[in-house]
Amino acid sequence: MTTPTYDAIVIGAGHNGLAAATTLARKGKSVCVIEKNETAGGMARNTTLAGGIQVPEIAHLLYNLHPKVTKELGLGSARAPLELRKLASVSLSEDGNHAIIRDGKAEMVDGRPHPEAAPFAELMRRLTLFAGLLGQLSTKSPPSFEGGLTSLNALTELGGLAKLGLDLKRIGKKDMREFLRVLLSNAYDLILDDLEDSPLAGALAADAVRGAYAGPRSPGTVFTLMYRMGQGGGAQLPMGGMGAVSAAFETAARAAGAEILTGYGVARVLVENDHAAGVVLEDGTRISARAVLSNTGPMPAMMLAGAKHYDVEAVRRMRNQRCKGSAAKVNLVLNGTPEFTGHNTDLAASRLLIAPSATYVERAFNPAKYGEMPENPVIEAIIPSLTDPTLVKDGRHVISAVVTSVPYGLEGGWNDAARERLAAITIATLEKYAPGIGALVIEKQVLSPACIEARTGAPGGHWHHAEMGIDQILTVRPANGMAHYRFGPEGYYLCGAGAHPGGDVTGLAGRNSAMQLLKDGVL
């Protein structure tokens, strides 16, 4: 038997794959990351439009990059530079009376305090507090309850949970009761219990369901809202575009000694004696390794190893995983600066939300359930070039729009006509708030959930690789019995967003899986 070429191979150079690779490499392991695309970064990449403008291709903002990951990987340090700018959120109103959310506080566009500033601040206080508590669970493997609730192993886990319990106690009886009440509740009711149904409420409702296959009236959406607020909830714009984030992850990985091989797809994972032994590339090359980590979605990861290495139950669970993407990306190159009603350029540099009410957000999701496109979609748009002058070229700006409630399984399928229609709907919606914006558009890029799946491999084009429903998180993410990154054959690990704690550019799934692998003594 020959010595394996690497200690570990990571399939996919998304940020989680790179985080896993860095974590392993920093422990002195030899690691090779294999990426099918020509560049690393997965969903957090830049693309070039209109002869040279840098555009965040899919993801465009950071919310949840975990400080532990930043620190461990050295992101933002001289080793892997990364500069972030905080953005305020502007929830647009057709009449120009926009609501602005800055540092968790609500104000009006003209600088007046928002009439609901007080209840909003109280709501944010609670949500941020609860999000912080839940955040404790994100940096560890989820509890497994191995051997039932009373075994030694479970007791250690419960010890970890006891810290959470203690912190829960510490927040006081009133907040603890509120936490237990809202945890599994729906965002719509929570928001409208305290706020009028206005753009302010709409902004929260939209944040609760962005990237999720749910409307704000669906139970479980308070959890997704809190998940997003894990690091306070503020949106951060990476200077140089999302590509800069991946570049930082990539730089950190290389600096730690990991190799990155781009432009090579993995055909399958080699399994010998029920142990991961390396990969076979699409061109037939075999690369051996003592462990393999997959940054793909859970189902593709299973298919790479071969379903025969899993029991029937596991295969069935994977097949039933909920991962219908519902967010599309529309990038528009504009021949000038767009003018928003009642808005100055300063505010146009913010995170712009089209979600005039929570009811609007719920209505937008209705058609998606039946495979139809929303006529009035919820949009989160940024014009990065207004904050980052390096992105402007010849006076041209780019509006990067995440359009939600766009179904992966569109009736009739995704073709050029459908994408054209989505672009038209997006421009028509923007036009209501920025009259004349349509005339500025000189180039369009439309990425449907199906396109996102084709480009990144994320199942269903789902941002989080798998829906972040209560039935698919923690101990049951990606599925009951598979929650600890160990994924079938020994030495095979899931390190993407489909694993605990889930999606967003957090870096945690990758980091945690590498830690679990090291702890398991595979290497």
Binding site: S144, F145, E146, G147, G148, L149, T150, K169, K173, K174, M176, R177, E178, L180, R181, V182, L183, L184, S185, N186, D189, D193, A214, R217, S218, P219, G220, N320, R322, E362, N366, K369, Y370, G469, I470, D471, Q472, T475, V476, N480, G481
Partner: protein
């Protein structure tokens, strides 16, 4: 004020839960008065004769959840309660086909394979999961919900019981249980079945009475809420109370009066009298006042505290929590007197499953769209219904040869939208007629001659149910069955053990744990709690005090 105006306890509202509490208190030796605003008792478990010769169970219409421990404790059969199980059911499709449900396993398997061989295999796995979840949850129905923020030995004891039960499931089942409780019925069925008609047939139980759609997480639990009952020990079975649902209330009423209790009908509570944070009595709408140190309100939590209690007696936080408690009207009902049994052309003549629950929903998407209509304040343009003809099994419901049909309709909004305004008062003769027409159109999918056989139809909207029965928004569960309103959150976090901020005052209706569905569990649990608090021994034998 004479001695006759003074009672040991007063129960406000003679619904089945109020009567259950009253029975247990009276049997423990208390002098108990039940006051009821209507001229009849029963709340939403009533039999009414609204068309001569016919008996309508005009609110609740079938029985399964009524806890047998309570039936035994109170010896309800002695007072005339008889539950007749019915078997089977069917869903009719618009192309003239049907799917029939039957309780015989082999027959059911054959029927399912007629639609899909895959689903016939899947059904066993599906029903195993559901039964397992039912077994897990049933022990909790007659126990208090522990307060997780409390360190009292009793709460810790209850929490330990929960952990013990959960531990008994084993690791794999624990994960499955967590998952099941947070899933939507739509996703759960999609996981098991491929046939739309079969999925739609089962899914109904996940949305009945709720303001949720088949794809709303948490509806798998609602399904459980409809499956966890039993008729004579057959878990999941449903039956008719002979003589209509009023038979349950009447039996409870008779049991109560035999135990020495008094029922006053025809005048509702105007307000609860409170002094120094203690309840002191009840003032009725007709001006009568009764003194008592103990009040059990069978009214829902909103009605109790927002309409009949002076707000200065309540902490602001509590009031706020009561206001945000969600009680949403989502169901309507048609009670129909039939000249003869309607024809069901799709079904074999005299098919036994026609004596069960009949539906016309064809797919989960159809049900979800019905929900979308409701969200906007419209009744479902293509409604889901649960239709039964109880007179086939219980001939007391209609004159010889004639029949009685009950049609439960999901969804109908309480605050109907007309011309951009949403209000309960938008339900008038015209809108009610249009609503009934819409239901009849859909009924014709199963029985095309239904209109010609109809002698009389009572149309019940959520608005009507609220006006008559007193249930806020006409919600059949006295509060949505979502997780933020179950267990220790029901009805208000911190007041989930039937107690309230007012000393001596208790909530005993379905607003309290474990919720609605003619279960009588809230009423019995509350009685247990009251007796414990006043240091009286418990008359219950059915389950440990």
């Amino acid at each position: 004020m004479g001695q006759h105006d003074r009672y040991d306890a007063i129960v406000a509202g003679a619904g089945h839960n109020g009567l259950t509490t009253a029975c247990y208190l009276a049997k423990a030796g208390l002098r108990v008065l039940v006051v009821e605003k209507n001229d009849w008792i029963g709340g939403a478990a009533v039999s009414r004769s609204l068309h001569e010769g016919w008996t309508y169970s005009n609110c609740s219409y079938v029985c399964s959840l009524l806890r047998r421990e309570i039936v035994r404790d109170l010896e309800l059969p002695k007072y005339g309660l008889q539950v007749i199980p019915y078997e089977g059911g069917a869903s009719f499709s618009s192309d003239g086909g049907y799917f029939a449900y039957m309780s015989d396993h082999d027959a059911l398997r054959r029927e399912i394979s007629r639609h899909s061989a895959h689903d016939a295999d899947a059904y066993d796995r599906f029903s195993q999961t559901v039964i397992r979840q039912c077994r897990f949850i049933r022990p909790f129905l007659l126990r208090n919900a522990p307060d997780p923020t409390s360190l009292k030995p009793r709460d810790i004891g209850e929490l330990l019981f929960l952990i013990k039960q959960a531990h008994g499931l084993g690791k794999k089942e624990l994960g499955e249980t967590l998952r099941f409780w947070s899933m939507s019925i739509g996703d759960f069925l999609d996981e098991h079945f491929e046939n739309d008609l079969i999925k739609a047939h089962i899914a109904g139980a996940g949305i009945i009475g709720t303001g949720l759609g088949v794809y709303s997480p948490g509806t798998a639990y609602v399904l459980l809420h409809h499956y966890m009952g039993d008729v004579d020990g057959a878990i999941g079975a449903w039956g008719f109370a002979r003589g209509g649902m009023g038979a349950i209330s009447n039996a409870l009423g008779a049991c109560f009066e035999e135990a020495g209790g008094t029922i006053v009908t025809g005048s509702g509570v105007d307000r609860f009298l409170v002094s120094n944070g203690r309840v002191t009595g009840v003032a009725l709408e007709n001006g009568d006042e009764y003194r008592t140190p103990l009040v059990a309100s069978n009214m829902d939590v909103k009605r109790t505290f927002l309409e009949h209690t002076e707000q200065q007696h309540l902490p602001t936080d509590f009031l706020k929590a009561v206001k945000r408690f969600k009680i949403r009207g989502s169901s309507g009902k048609l009670n129909i007197a039939l000249d003869a049994l309607p024809e069901f052309p799709a079904a074999p003549k005299r098919a036994p499953f026609l004596r069960g629950d009949l539906h016309c929903a064809e797919s989960l998407n159809e049900l979800e769209r019905a929900y979308d209509d409701w969200k906007e304040g419209r009744w479902s343009q293509n409604p889901y219904f649960d239709m039964l003809i109880p007179s086939q099994i219980d001939p007391t419901m209609a004159p010889p040869g004639k029949h009685m049909m009950t049609v439960f309709v999901q969804y109908a909004p309480y605050d109907l939208e007309v011309g951009g305004v949403r209000a309960g008062t938008n339900w008038n003769g015209q809108t009610r007629g249009a609503f009934a027409d819409c239901v009849f159109d859909k009924l014709e999918q199963a029985c095309p001659d239904i209109r010609s056989k109809t002698l009389h139809a009572e149309i019940r909207t959520p608005w009507d149910i609220e006006q008559e029965v007193g249930l806020t928004e006409g919600n059949i569960f006295q509060g949505e069955l979502t997780f933020d309103q179950l267990l220790f959150n029901r009805p208000v976090p911190g007041y989930a053990q039937y107690d309230t901020p007012i000393d001596g005052m208790y909530i005993v209706g379905s607003s309290a744990h474990p919720g609605g569905g003619v279960m009588a569990a809230p009423g019995a649990n509350a009685a247990k709690e009251i007796l414990r608090n006043i240091g009286k021994s418990n008359a219950m034998t059915g389950y440990a005090a």
